[in-house]
Every structure is written in C-alpha cells, then in structure tokens.
C-alpha cells in the first residue's frame, strides 16, 4: 500500500518522460526510417555518407575533441590547486566558476560575438595598445573558444568533486609507504579521479559534439557542424525525414562514445599498475 503511494509520486515524472523524451525519440526513429510518403527506407540514415554531411560530422568530432582536451588541460591542474586551498576559499572559487552558468547560454554566446568582432571590445583594446588585432570571428577557433568557455564548469566540477573525496590519510599512507610526489600523482590521485574525469569528458564532449548554436552565432555560417546540418534540414528544408535520419546517426555516435568512455573508466579502475 505504502509502496503504491510512493510509486504514484513518480507519476508526474513518468508522464513528462513519456511525453517529452520517449515520444520524440519514437518519432525520430519513425521519421528516420521512412520517406515523405511513409515508406520504409534507409536513405535518410545512409545519407550521412554524403560528403557534405560527412565533412560536418568530422568537423564536429574534431572541434568537440579539441574543446574536450583544452577543458581537461585547464580543469585538472585547477581542480588540484582548488583542492589544496583552505575550505573557505574553495567555496568562493567554486562559486566564481559556476557564476557564468547562471546567465543564459545564448546571451553568453552573443556576448562573445560582441567581444570578438572586428571593432569589438578586444580588438579596440588591442588597437589602443598598438597591438595587431585578432580576426578569429567566423572561424572554428572562435567556436572552440566559446565552447570551452561554456563547458568548462562541467569539466571542473566533477574532477574537483572526485578529488575532494580522496581522504587525506590515503595520500599520507602512500607517502608513508615510500611514495614521492610523482608516484602519488600517477598511482593514487589520477586513478582515484578517473571517474570524475570521465564524467567531465562526457559532459563536455557530448554537448560540444551536438552543439549548433555556438557555430551558428560565432561561425557566421562558415563553420558547418553536424548540428547545423540537422537544424537546416528541419528548419530550412522542412525535411524532417533527413533531419531525423542524421539525428539518429548522431545519437548512435553519442551513445557509442559514452559507452567507450565508461568501459575505459572501468579498465582504469581495475588495472592501475
């Protein structure tokens, strides 16, 4: 009886899930494997092999990878520094990192457009200082730059969390058993933060791979990611079948990379030496 009541509490969420997650996925699957007439086809899915789609997918992968690597390279040392700070300052610094997330995603991208444009804030500043201006707007560099800015907290937080969970006496025990700083880092800290690193990678890589707003606003139509191709299929060509087919392929790629990361994580957990 009590159990039933508790299950009823999940009701609103189940409805939400069915309506806004399950149903859309079924619809995407339906559109992906049918023609406009409703006949079964593989054409929408296999159209990923068209050179323009393949190019967009490759570029998406490349930029997402670069973005993830930069985020990781920035976050890991930062998390270590953060972890060694006094508890009070830690809270404040974490707050600073989360602060940008309180602003709307689109606003932040638009702000970067203002900052980076030819007569924008950064270039005017460089100009007054007599330095050469930077012309990265509407290039993949600007897209990566903004993605790193947007997704960095998603990398820092899980890594910082996993690092903060390492008990001080584990480090002391390693030192006690003769380990120097390098050994402690590679044999204790890295393996114990691997779960944080992996969730960080997934949380940065997946949105970076599927992103279209950043490339739209900062790429100036010149940087075509797979997300943009899908958006165009839906919004400009009104070809829901093609858009769904490409979405389906992207979903497969996302699930595959997540599965790959997770299995790597399990390996890392077990075989340290």
């Amino acid at each position: 009886m009590c159990n039933l009541k508790r299950q009823l509490l999940a009701g609103p969420y189940v409805l939400w899930m069915a309506g806004f997650i399950l149903l859309p996925v079924i619809m995407i699957l339906y559109y992906a494997f049918t023609t406009t007439g409703g006949d079964f086809t593989f054409l929408n899915v296999s159209s990923i092999t068209f050179s323009v789609h393949l190019k967009a997918l490759t570029l998406s992968f490349k930029l997402a990878l670069i973005c993830t690597v930069i985020c990781l390279a920035l976050s890991y040392p930062l998390a270590m520094i953060l972890n060694n700070m006094k508890a009070k300052s830690q809270g404040f610094v974490v707050f600073i990192f989360i602060l940008p997330m309180w602003m709307n995603f689109m606003l932040r991208i638009l702000a970067w457009r203002m900052l980076l444009s030819n007569n924008g804030v950064i270039n005017s500043l460089l100009d007054t200082l007599g330095l050469p201006g930077i012309d990265i707007l509407n290039t993949p560099t600007a897209v990566v730059f903004c993605m790193v800015y947007d997704f960095l907290p998603f990398m820092i937080l899980p890594i910082y969390n996993s690092m903060a969970r390492i008990q001080a006496d584990i480090i002391e025990a390693a030192r006690d058993l003769g380990a120097g700083n390098l050994t402690i880092f590679f044999k204790i800290i890295v393996p114990l933060t691997m779960s944080g690193v992996i969730s960080g990678i997934i949380m940065v890589f997946v949105p970076a791979l599927t992103s279209f707003a950043v490339s739209d606003l900062l790429g100036g139509g010149k940087v075509l990611l797979i997300g943009n191709v899908i958006e165009q299929a839906f919004m400009q060509e009104y070809n829901w079948n093609l858009g769904s087919g490409l979405s389906f392929v992207l979903m497969i790629f996302v699930i595959a990379s997540m599965a790959l990361m997770n299995s790597r994580g399990e390996e890392n957990g077990a075989g340290v030496w």
Binding site: Q167, D169, A173, D176, L177, I188
Partner: protein, 357 residues
Amino acid sequence: MSKRLIDLTHISKSFDGQMILDDLNLYIRENEFLTLLGPSGCGKTTTLRIIGGFETPDQGNIIFDGRDITKLPPNQRQLNTVFQKYALFPHMSIAENIAFGLKIRKKSKTYIDDKIKYALNLVNLEGFENRNIDSLSGGQQQRIAIARAIVNEPKVLLLDEPLGALDLKLRQDMQYELIRLKNELGITFVYVTHDQEEALTMSDTIVVMNQGYIQQIGTPQDIYNEPVNAFVADFIGESNILNGLMIKDRLVEILDVKFPCVDEGFGCNTPVDVVIRPEDVELVSPEQGMLEGDVVSLIFKGVHWETEVLANGFEWLVHTTQMHPLGTHVGIQVDPFNIQIMNKPETNDEKAVESHV
C-alpha cells in the same frame, strides 16, 4: 635492556597558536611495545605524527637509530604507519595494496609475491590476494592495513588508534593478534589509544599524556598500581580520589577519619591526594568498619557488583563479589597497602591535569 631506537628531545608543537605539545621528551627502546595513552586532545596523535613525519615539530629533534630525522619526509623514514581508518587504496586489489611499498622499492616480482603471501598468512587472511577492498569487514581491512605496512620490514610500526573503529569483541581479539604479531616480527610498536584497557593489555611501556604533557611513563603494573597523580589514577581504571591530610608518616586523615597507610616522606599535616581503587575497598559490618555508610546504588556488572556507598559525605565506588542490597548499612575498611598517597599538584603542567579532573 635493549638500546634506545627513537629519541624525542624537547619537542614542541602548536597549531594556530594553540600549544599541543610543550617540551616533550621521550625515548623508545628497540623491540618495545610502547603506548601513548590519553584523552582526545592530549597530543598523543600529534606525537605519533611527528615520529611518522607527517608533522614537523616547532622545536626539538627526533633521533632515529642515532640519526637526526627531524626534517626527513615520511617516505624516507624507516617506519610505517597503520591508520585509524585503514586508509587502504580503494582502486587497488588487496595484493596491489600490500605490494605498493615494495613496488616503489623496485623489488622483484617473486619477492613481492612471496611477501604478499607471507603477510597475508601473518594476519590470518590467506588467499585474499585478489579480493576487493569493499568486500572486507572493518577488522579484515585493518589486518590488510597492517600487512601493507609490515611487508616493508620497518624497524618501527606506528599505530594510530587502529582498533578505534571496530566493535568490542573484535577489538579484544585484535589486541591478542597485535601482541602475537609484535612477538613474531620482533619490531618496535608505537601505539596510540585513548582506551586504557587496550593499553594495559598490550604494552610493555605506557606513556600517559594530558594536555600536551607526559604525566607518567611506566609498565602497565606501575601505571595502575602506583599512579603518580590524580589524573593518571582517574584515567587508568576507576578510582576513588579523595582529599587527604598527611598527619605524619604512615598516617593519613581522610574524611575526618585517620587511616594507617604505608607511605612516608610527605611531611607532617600536608594536604595530599588519596587514591583508592574500587576493588580495594572492603565492605564489612558497620561496627568493624573505619567508616559507616549506606548503599545508595547497585549495578550488576557480571564479574562484580558496582556498589556506591555514601559515607561521611563521599560516594565511595566499591567493586565487590557480594551483593549488598540498596539501603544496607555497611562499614568501610581499606588495607593500608591499598591506599595511594600523592602530592597535590604544584607545577604548571600538573595543574593542567587538575583542571581536567
């Protein structure tokens, strides 16, 4: 007597302006089971961490086997630590945990495998090599922590309240295990605990500490039978601590009654602390006793009855094997040999003691 292995000289340490250790001097002999005993905040763990190298003293030196190691980091000291919460590496198997120190010392694979087997055998966990840390109970985890430390053949094993997280029965079993281990290994154990029973059971030498000062160093028998002050008496076992007046040699006045005793040299009419262990108080018929009183509390403890007798305004704690029902009028008798006389605190560190009691 074996030679001195560790010498702590004039060690002082404070954290955030608060003095934890003040001019501590202590030596530890080779092959000794030495216990640092005291209430929390007495500086016992800090002392252990200074020996282990996890803290640097503000002042003073640590001499290890004739060599000054005060500034040596933990990874270069010939000693290993067993931590209170085990501190096993959660991402490694049991074998990998035990092998950690040996791999750093670049020992051969056969040597390491032999050592793992030997250590697991020593702590009664044969065949546990490939088990997961999470699959072990607290007691088993602590055995692995001990195995991980001793495979490195340290000259000294430091143990920081290693049984603190275990339940009572397991704690008692582990005490005998530790004594056996120490005898088999033939190395020095430095043990930190706040549990006086643990200290009495296992130690060759007990160091009683309070508020950063050493109160007494001695064998378990010395500490229990001849406590030097009221703090030690109170901390080690239960006791009746009374204000007394030393009338003359071999005669002390307690609660307006003169008791014959065996202590001498306190002078005449000197205020003293008197300690009488509860098992040394005899309950007799009222007319035979030196004091008369009534039983006000009675608790059955298994081996004995914990009886409280109110006599001359003091509640005497008495352990007897005979039951005296509540309200019984009884006499109190104490053998002269069982009356411990000690000076009232005079110096600063002894006052620290008094304020705690």
